[in-house]
């Protein structure tokens, strides 16, 4: 009895703790921080922070303000503020949050959605780090495009200024020699070079115009 009472006052009133051996199945709602050292399955809705400790396992649809994950989470997390996967964190599921921090060592499989990225100022480099992960997946298709069709593939991949270069290329290619069909291919093989190559033809064009005026 005494042992049961002594730990109770030591824990702060504002925090809920699910101990290591405790297993909750069902729906959990609350307006305070929740520390999970045990197991929670089902659904978790909090107005504050969910902390999944190293020993904690959460298999649930999670809707919180903040989440700090050092344990295991299987399920989707919707956070109004931030989600942090620490070094020990393991997660499978999608994350919807304006701020997402994935630390080196963390394991994660799923989608990341930071909301309206276009209107978001790039505040912290740490907030942008998670982007390469989702960006890495759409990357393969653009690589495949240039192999199929060289010029049309280059247009959507490159920003607006790059569109000028391909326009010039087709003009030159048919005019000069159809035999040089190989030339457009190398240009498409090195998509990183166009900005440098672009500058040269533009200058060349200007010089030509001047020559015509003279």
């Amino acid at each position: 009895m005494a042992t049961a009472r002594t730990p109770t006052p030591s824990s702060p009133d504002g925090a809920t703790i699910i101990g290591e051996s405790v297993h909750i199945r069902g729906q959990l709602n609350g307006g305070e921080d929740l520390h999970v050292l045990g197991r929670v399955e089902g659904r978790v809705d909090l107005e504050r922070t969910l902390v999944v400790a190293q020993s904690g396992i959460v298999k649930a649809e999670v809707s919180v303000k903040n989440a700090i994950i050092s344990g295991v989470v299987v399920g989707n997390i919707h956070a109004t503020e931030s989600v942090e996967l620490t070094r020990e964190g393991r997660m499978v599921g999608d994350i919807y949050s304006p701020r997402i921090i994935i630390v080196d060592g963390a394991s994660f499989r799923g989608n990341v959605d930071m909301g309206d990225i276009a209107n978001m100022p790039a505040r912290k480099p740490s907030a942008e780090r998670p982007r390469p992960a989702p960006a890495a997946r759409p990357a393969p298709p653009p690589q495949a495009r240039p192999t199929l069709t060289a010029k049309p593939g280059a247009k959507p991949a490159a920003p607006a200024p790059a569109a000028k270069a391909p326009e010039k290329a087709p003009d030159k290619a048919p005019e000069k020699a159809p035999e040089k069909a190989e030339q457009p291919r190398p240009a498409s093989v090195t998509p990183l070079e166009p900005p440098a190559a672009k500058g040269l033809p533009q200058k060349a064009q200007k010089t030509r115009v001047i020559v015509k005026r003279k």
């Binding site: 049961a4 109770t8 405790v22 729906q27 959990l28 709602n29 307006g31 929740l34």
Partner: protein, 104 residues
């Protein structure tokens, strides 16, 4: 730290099981199965069938309690349901409606 606490604003609808003491200050509906002690504090509300070793009720409990050791209804405890336990204590001021079974 390791002790499990369900805080004031927490509402759980479902099943809780475990091998350690559980303190409830919020609301739990469904079922509770513990091999240790359950403490329902003043602010706690439990609408559940409870199976534990010990139970200490200072808050509200609706449901049946089956305990292997003892059940204690404190003076500010309110309980509706049946209690089955070898030792049952009901303090002066406690509110209780239900059956009591002290058979071992």
């Amino acid at each position: 730290m390791a002790n499990t606490v369900i805080g004031n604003t927490i509402v759980i609808d479902g099943e809780i099981s475990g091998d350690e003491d559980l303190t409830i200050r919020g609301t739990v509906k469904g079922k509770i199965a513990l091999s240790a002690s359950l403490i329902v504090e003043n602010s706690g509300t439990v609408e559940a069938d409870i199976e534990t070793k010990n139970v200490e009720v200072s808050g509200n409990v609706t449901g049946n309690i089956t305990s292997t050791e003892r059940v204690e209804l404190k003076s500010d405890g309110r309980m509706v349901g049946d209690i089955k336990a070898p030792r049952i204590l009901i303090a002066d001021g406690a509110v209780f409606k239900g059956n009591v079974d002290m058979e071992r």
